[in-house]
């Protein structure tokens, strides 16, 4: 459909609705909960045009995923469409079907699902059956909706698998989802959704669970397939960076309502609604001014006074003794035997961490960046003494006294644990659902047998105000708090024993953008107010840019580049750092990803050019190329 006809259709929306591919009108979705009826979606309307991409944006709980489920009639059993229409019209000449009127279990709706509208989900691992092969699951929809022979169906399946980027589609047919990497799984998921050439693809957070470089490949793939198959995409996401790169039109949802809609350029250049405007100020961007702060939608008021007394400032002498944490040539090598059930493979060395050296100064925040599986969490476990290293040294400056962490044992180790604490990624599983917040915050004092009941009670209340929560909520259980509030409780727990050093393992990656800004600001303030040292682990470069003084980039267990934050972002040297930075989708229409000329292969060491080539025969090391800026390269040129 040409641009002109679409434009006319847009103008004559009320009289000529039928010229839209999909038209959602005044859709209301309710959920029957034990406490009563919950209105998840409150009368939203939008239109999707042939071959275009509409982004549905909002934070978790805004009703965007529920809307997608309603379109396919796959709402959970306690959810139902209260009123409204979902009109699907494949061709301008054909009559429109109202999906709402179709029986949920009837054949008419089933022919829409997978045949005309299909969907890809956020987590490809759990969204595919582990018991069935890729070929079986991908071809399934084909045999359901098209009347074709088995041979022909399998041929089309192989074709589709090659189309989404499987190099050996014949072999891929017989693989199981758990044998694939995250990116390939999502490609298989896309193949599964597109096998019947649907007119609409609903993509529910298709890249949220993936690394940035993989995300870029998947987005590129979706764009290419959209053109080849001429289909419309309904993209559900909370990432404005993805929106800027993919969408033609945007619908912003907030608490089940549409608060803003329009072409992508209007949304980014002239955001109108308060929520949308604050969303833009809440996202960390590259190149923010050093004193520039994120503005969360709801700021936290926290008070430090009560606890400040237990965090004593460091004396200059103590700082002179050495770095706060000094890691030298740390490595962790796992020896595994590939334990297939019926085959026993040879022994394999997995180098989780290799030749890792890093100094962290007192009061510094060092960001550790890398993609999933690069070993950054292993580093945090090694530093915490949760696992012991194969080789290497970890020295800790305990206010003037140097401790060798590898030799600590028994009561010494127990004593040391109060100095260094960890905040986990997922605030939902990091807090025991069976303990009240009071018990959770009390636990550190109980373990280390500090103070009496009265002292503990006061400290627990102080900790609540430290993270900006009302001490009156102490008797509640974690489930009655939101993700952001839980993460604040986790932070309070980590700070209970007045540690000097915090390891933050992806502390904001499970949170919504607006909440993320809150937590980042809180962490920043606490660091300044209490003189804390941070090791901040993240896969999100923009987040690290906002909070860290120095950044260390890690790939396959090794550090490849360390530099002060500004240097790294304005002058990245290592090809891997460059590939990472290039793949980050930025919420800026003028800085869209260059899908045509990307250097994605550089995210894999095999493609690194000299002098960055990794080879067991040529020694390589971190070389200081300018003040404080280290890059891993070969030390001998050949």
């Amino acid at each position: 459909m040409s641009e002109a006809t679409a434009e006319t259709a847009h103008e004559a929306q009320n009289t000529k609705e039928e010229s839209f591919l999909l038209s959602v009108q005044d859709l209301c979705v309710d959920f029957q909960l034990p406490g009563g009826v919950f209105n998840a979606v409150k009368g939203i309307s939008f239109n999707l045009r042939h071959g275009s991409t509409l982004a549905l944006v909002g934070e978790s709980g805004s009703g965007k995923s529920v809307t997608a489920q309603a379109l396919l009639g796959i709402l959970p059993s306690n959810g139902f469409i209260n009123r409204g229409k979902i009109l699907l019209q494949e061709k301008p000449s054909s009559p429109a079907i109202d999906i709402v009127q179709l029986s949920r279990r009837g054949p008419d709706l089933r022919s829409v699902r997978g045949g005309k509208i299909s969907m890809i989900f956020q987590e490809p691992m759990v969204s595919m059956s582990a018991m069935h092969t890729i070929g079986n699951q991908v071809s399934e929809a084909l045999f359901l909706h098209r009347n074709i022979s088995r041979k022909e169906g399998l041929r089309l399946t192989r074709e589709m698998l090659s189309l989404v980027g499987f190099r050996n589609s014949e072999q891929a047919m017989n693989l199981y989802p758990f044998e694939l990497s995250g990116g390939l799984r999502q490609r298989a998921m896309i193949a599964m959704a597109l096998i019947c050439h649907p007119v609409i693809l609903i993509a529910d957070e298709p890249t949220t669970a993936l690394d940035v470089t993989v995300q870029m490949q998947i987005l590129k793939l979706m764009k290419r397939l959209q053109q080849e198959l001429n289909m419309a995409i309904l993209l559900i996401t909370h990432d404005l960076g993805v929106v800027a790169n993919m969408a033609d039109e945007v619908v912003v949802m907030y608490h089940g309502q549409v608060v803003e809609r329009g072409p992508v350029s209007n949304i980014f250049l002239h955001p109108q609604h308060k929520y949308l405007r604050s969303l833009f100020t809440a996202i960390p961007r590259f190149g923010m001014q050093p004193d520039e702060r994120l503005i969360p939608i709801r700021a936290i008021e926290n008070s430090v006074e009560q606890v400040a007394g237990s965090f004593e400032p460091w004396s200059e002498d103590a700082k002179q003794v050495g770095s706060h944490l000094s890691i030298k040539e740390l490595s962790k090598i796992y020896i595994t035997r590939k334990q297939g059930w019926l085959r026993r493979g040879p022994k394999q060395e997995i180098k989780a961490v290799l030749d890792f050296s890093l100094d962290i100064g007192v009061g510094e925040c060092v960001g550790l960046v890398g993609e999933s599986g690069c070993g950054k969490s292993t580093v945090s476990k090694l530093v915490m003494q949760a696992i012991s290293p194969t080789t290497g040294q970890i020295q800790y400056n305990d206010r003037g006294q140097i401790l060798d962490l590898r030799t600590l044992q028994g009561s010494q180790l127990q004593q040391f644990r109060t100095k260094m604490q960890l905040v986990f990624q997922d605030p939902y599983s990091a807090l025991s659902p069976r303990m009240t917040i009071r018990e959770i915050l009390n636990e550190p004092f109980c373990i280390h047998q500090l103070g009496d009941i009265k002292y503990r009670e006061n400290r627990v209340k102080d900790l609540m105000s430290l993270v900006g929560l009302d001490p009156a909520l102490l008797n509640r259980y974690p489930h009655s708090f939101s993700g952001g509030q839980r993460q604040r409780i986790s932070i309070a727990r980590a700070l209970a024993l007045a540690p000097d050093f915090l390891i933050l393992d992806e502390p904001v990656s499970a949170l919504d953008v607006s909440v993320q800004a809150q937590i980042l600001n809180l962490l920043k303030d606490l660091q300044a107010q209490l003189q804390l040292t941070y090791l901040f682990i993240s896969h999100n470069l923009a987040v690290v840019d906002y909070i860290a003084d120095r950044i260390a980039v890690m790939c396959r267990g090794q550090l490849v580049e360390i530099a002060p934050t500004k240097d790294l972002f304005y002058n990245p040297q290592h090809p891997y750092t460059q590939a990472l930075m290039e793949a980050v989708p930025v919420p800026d229409l003028n800085a869209r990803l260059d899908f045509e000329h990307m250097v994605t292969p550089l995210s894999q060491p095999e493609y690194w050019p000299a002098p960055y080539t990794l080879s067991p025969h040529i020694p390589n090391a971190l070389v200081e190329i300018s003040d404080q800026h280290f890059v891993r390269m070969c030390t001998v040129s050949d």
């Binding site: 279990r105 997978g114 092969t133 359901l144 590939k338």
Partner: protein, 332 residues
């Protein structure tokens, strides 16, 4: 594949040796032996005891030898197919067990099939209609089935069958066919009698199985991959059977290891109450009278079946679940 099976088979040897020692020790634990209880019985009846005959018997059966020697005689014989000699029945153990074994296998197999036929559809229904009236009703019946002692049910059914059908349904066949060669009439008589023990032995198993199928299936029903299947346009029944049901079968197959020995032992008390000519009551009396070869060989046989059953269910699990076959843990 074969290397794995062979490794597992070799591993079975030490397992069985340990089991045999344990079995032998347990049988010998009560003070005395069969001859002593035999003498005591004779004396209580006021009969004189021929000391020479006792000494002869003692030597004949090797009861005068040391424990390890007795164990060795028994276990070597066991693996050569000689299960020993039953003192109580005065004939070789193989002959004592003989006919009973076939009847036991018949009763147990029919019971297990009965259990599956009833439990699978009800379990599927209960899981897909969670908290409906049907689910509650079937759950209630299931709990009653679980809570009722089997022998009580046996007595009630015996009474009812006698009053309303006018037949005596104890045993597995009409009295006139006992010890007769197999014939068509004998076979139909067995079938006529079979349904009571099958229902009695099957109820609690069925009720338990319904609960397990329901619970396992409920865990799977809300998994994202089920939603994916629905979004593809699969019909509800096919969706249910292809995805969540397949996954929930794992527990069921893992259970086969336990099922195999219960085919030949199973339900001793019910068998006593219904006077079934199965192996259960025989094992009980052998243990009571310290008929050591009969009891020992039988227990050993059960242990072997358990070990083999576990191997079978492990192999079957690998066949149906690729995560086990291909080792999910290693690829993560």
């Amino acid at each position: 594949m074969w290397a794995y099976v062979i490794r597992r088979l070799i591993l079975m040897i030490p397992t069985l040796v340990i089991i045999s020692i344990v079995v032998f020790t347990i049988i010998q634990l009560p003070p005395g032996d069969y001859l002593e209880s035999y003498i005591a019985e004779l004396q209580s009846q006021g009969e004189s005891v021929d000391k020479q005959k006792i000494a002869f018997l003692r030597q004949q059966y090797g009861l005068d030898k040391s424990m390890p020697e007795q164990y060795l005689t028994w276990i070597t014989g066991f693996f050569q197919g000689d299960l020993g000699y039953s003192f109580e029945y005065n004939m070789p153990v193989t002959e004592v067990v003989g006919d009973r074994m076939y009847l036991t296998i018949l009763v147990s197999t029919v019971t297990i099939i009965f259990t599956w036929i009833i439990a699978f559809p009800i379990g599927l229904y209960s899981a897909t209609h969670q908290y409906s009236w049907g689910d509650y009703g079937l759950t209630l019946i299931g709990f009653i089935g679980l809570a009722t002692p089997n022998f009580l049910l046996a007595l009630v059914l015996l009474y009812l069958a006698n009053v309303y059908f006018g037949t005596s349904i104890g045993g597995l066949m009409d009295a006139k066919y006992i010890n007769q060669p197999w014939s068509w009439d004998k076979f139909t008589s067995v079938l006529e009698h079979l349904w009571i023990p099958v229902i009695v032995i099957g109820t609690s198993g069925t009720a338990g199985m319904i609960r397990r199928i329901r619970a396992n299936l409920l865990d799977e029903l809300n998994k994202p991959y089920v939603v994916t299947g629905r979004a593809k346009g699969l019909g509800e029944t096919r969706l249910l059977l292809k995805y969540p049901f397949r996954v929930s079968l794992n527990f069921f197959i893992a259970d086969i290891g336990n099922m195999l020995p219960s085919i030949i032992s199973g339900a001793e008390v019910v068998a006593l109450v219904l006077s079934l000519p199965t192996t259960g009551p025989m094992l009980l009396s052998a243990l009571q009278s310290q008929d050591m070869y009969l009891a020992g060989s039988f227990l050993m046989f059960l242990a072997m079946l358990t070990v083999i059953g576990v191997l079978i269910s492990d192999l079957l699990l690998a066949v149906i679940d690729p995560r086990i076959r291909l080792g999910e843990g290693a690829t993560r």
